[in-house]
């Protein structure tokens, strides 16, 4: 038996024993998502138990080194773990920007001391992180940010305002781009700073979106004092870290395009429900059917592209700018999917709330509106196309 097979057997046994029953049921809605953090909310004690067990094994971030709270798994082992989790239909133990965005750049750029300090609580879901990037005047032109951090003794004093801070009102800490040198060229004056959202002078106000949800905040900093050892990488070296982190963010967002998790009903099923026709026979609307089919095919092609990218990365041929392709195409696909979904449901896909619409139908409406932001957040589609044109295609300025 190969080592990998042994690992699979071991993992399977451990999961059979340790994955609580509830965790093996599909996620029903946002309330089933576990974000962790100091004020973690669990809809059911099994969620907490699952996070603790997975966190203790480091399997919330399986490929991170063990000394930083990770699982220390190889890429192959990590894939086996994912397969075994999928086999049992296990829910993710934790959804965390600490894992998807901050962790990877800390591993790459932080000091040993910083890694040991910040990574393990991320892995265990003890600290919930938010991202302080965009500002009202600095959206696509992210490097135009104005939030200042001035060194005063051993502390930076931060003043300014962020916007689109995801869940700032629910987060414990923030990773934040600040301008430490206002006189340097704009990309060169930026640093990457971590601080506690409970610090004096921090305030977060949720923004209501067109979809009715408020996942983002405006975040205000007034004389917030941050110990200088919470600056990651070099002073004025923040832009490099920022760009790398954006790649991780884009990868995360681009996965939306593959059509949603287990919760999302597929377009063919939606079509059958709303358009009728006999099971196994063509849907009665040939135009909608053509578009469903187009989406299904594109999803296959997108999936193959993701796998190809993983294979290339394993062979050491990863290309950073590829994330822009995934971000652009994935989010545009997701917008296409939600647009099609509401058209399939017709008037029933345009309800806002209340009587006359099922929860799933209201979900179609809200999901459609929410998806419009996918091609804006994490760098607009236009920015991604710029990046591809410049970095990948080498087109001149």
């Amino acid at each position: 038996m190969s080592d990998l097979d042994a690992f699979r057997t071991e993992t399977r046994e451990w999961l059979e024993e340790n994955a609580p029953a509830l965790i093996r049921q599909p996620i029903r809605g946002d309330e089933d998502t576990v974000w962790g953090g100091r004020n973690a909310v669990y809809d059911h004690p099994d969620q907490k138990l699952w996070l603790e067990r997975m966190g203790a094994k480091g399997w919330t971030c399986p490929t991170w080194p063990k000394e930083y709270g990770g699982g220390g798994l190889s890429a192959e082992e990590s894939r086996v773990l994912a397969e075994e989790l999928a086999r049992l239909g296990c829910r993710p133990a934790l959804f965390s920007f600490g894992i998807t965005m901050l962790g990877p750049v800390l591993i790459e750029f932080a000091s040993e001391e910083q890694k040991r300090r910040f990574l393990p609580p991320i892995a265990r879901g003890e600290i919930r992180w938010c991202q302080g990037y965009s500002e009202p005047g600095a959206g696509s032109d992210l490097a135009g940010l104005q939030t200042r951090a001035v060194l005063d003794g051993d502390e930076y004093v931060v003043n300014g305002q962020k916007v689109w801070t995801s869940y700032a009102d629910l987060s414990d800490w923030i990773f934040c781009l600040v301008r430490t040198d206002p006189d340097a060229p704009k990309h060169d004056g930026i640093s990457f700073l971590l601080f506690d959202m409970a610090s004096s002078g921090v305030e977060a106000a949720p923004i209501q979106l067109i979809s009715g949800s408020s996942p983002f905040c405006q975040t205000f900093f007034q004389d917030v004092r941050v110990p200088k050892d919470q600056l990651i990488g070099k002073v004025r070296g923040g832009w490099t870290i920022a760009k790398r982190l954006l790649q991780h963010e884009r990868s995360m967002i681009s996965q939306l395009g593959t059509g949603g998790g287990p919760r999302a009903e597929g377009l063919p099923e939606l079509g059958r429900r709303y358009l009728g026709g006999t099971e196994g026979e063509p849907l009665p609307d040939p135009l909608i059917r053509d578009r469903i089919s187009q989406f299904g095919m594109d999803r296959l092609c997108f999936g193959a592209t993701t796998r190809r990218s993983v294979d290339a990365a394993k062979a050491g041929r990863g290309a950073g700018a590829e994330t822009s392709m995934f971000k652009y195409y994935g989010t545009e696909m997701n917008k296409r999917r939600t647009e099609l979904a509401v058209e399939i449901a017709g008037a029933q896909g345009l309800g806002w709330e209340g009587e006359g619409f099922s929860d799933a139908e209201v979900g179609l409406t809200r999901g459609w509106l929410r998806s419009k932001g996918n091609s804006i957040e994490g760098g607009t589609s236009e920015i991604q196309l710029n990046v591809i044109a410049k970095r990948v295609l080498g087109l001149p300025d």
Partner: protein
Amino acid sequence: MSLILSEEQEFLRDTVREFVQENAPVTALRALRDSQDPDGFSRELWKEMAELGWVGAALPEDLGGAGLGFAELGIVLEECGRTLAASPYLSTAVLGASALELAGTDAQKKELIPEICSGERVWALAFQEGGQFAPFECATVAESAGDGFRLSGEKLFVLDGHVADTLIVTARSAGGSSDREGIRLFLVDPKAAGVEITRTLMVDSRNAARIRFDAVEVDRSAALGQVGTGAATLDAVLDRAAICLSAEMLGSTQEVFERTLQYLKDRQQFGKPIGSFQALKHRAANLFCEVELSKSIVLDALRALDEGRPGLSLIASSCKARCSDTFVLAANEGVQMFGGIGMTDEEEVGLFLKRAKVAAHCFGDGAYHRNRFAALSGY
């Protein structure tokens, strides 16, 4: 008829614009939404517009109308579209009035149309039964019962259904549920026994309702129009509705396009206005062309209505398909070009997006009308 506005029409447009911008700006729709207004529109304002002669713009003077035409009604609706003004225009002044005008007896017209023109009564046409727009799919039945009829069935997406004083209901007295033949129109009192009305809150914050008819008894006189003419009447009413809604959508489309253009000029990124980036310029220029074509076909369709031009249905379908698609495109481009701010409930561009999708669906979307255009053209 000329495809540009006459001086009188320009004057009307300016007057309506001033009135609507003053009395029913986009913030008014927001206020109706946020206060969960039970009517979903301002009755007072509706009365005022009726007094100004705008509700009955296309209706004859002897029935209380202004004796103008659809060209003029279209101007009013276009301006209402600019501010997303909520009112019973479509349900009452278009659907209700058209059904009466096209199928009513002289007595019915004389009695009922003046009350539309004066803004006293709100009407609703209940015809859609499924999520998809398919006006001749009608499972609601009208059985003979004594001297009258007994209606049973369920309708959804009935515009202004929860505030209507009178309902016009399509029901079938013969034929299978997909036949055009056998459909008739009936006037139903919303307070009649067996009528159950549920307001449905749509994403565009405009009025709609789901209505159940559970063995509702109506008089013989409640039948509107002759046996065998129901489908033709419905077709003609929906042609008018498609064109009038297109006029409204045109106003909304132009507004969201102009706001987007302004934003492109104002918003600075990378040290210059984002409208100086060629990729956005080209998209804006392409959108301009789509909007111009929409403008032309709306003007032409309104005049075709006034002229009683042959082939009207082809024009109506072209008009609705284009205006649906262009409005959705303009609204999507608007949100994307406004960027993050466009995603906030606070910024009004999102309200245009919401309205675009509902209006595109209402009375048939692009695909529906392309199918109809082809069928009418014999291919």
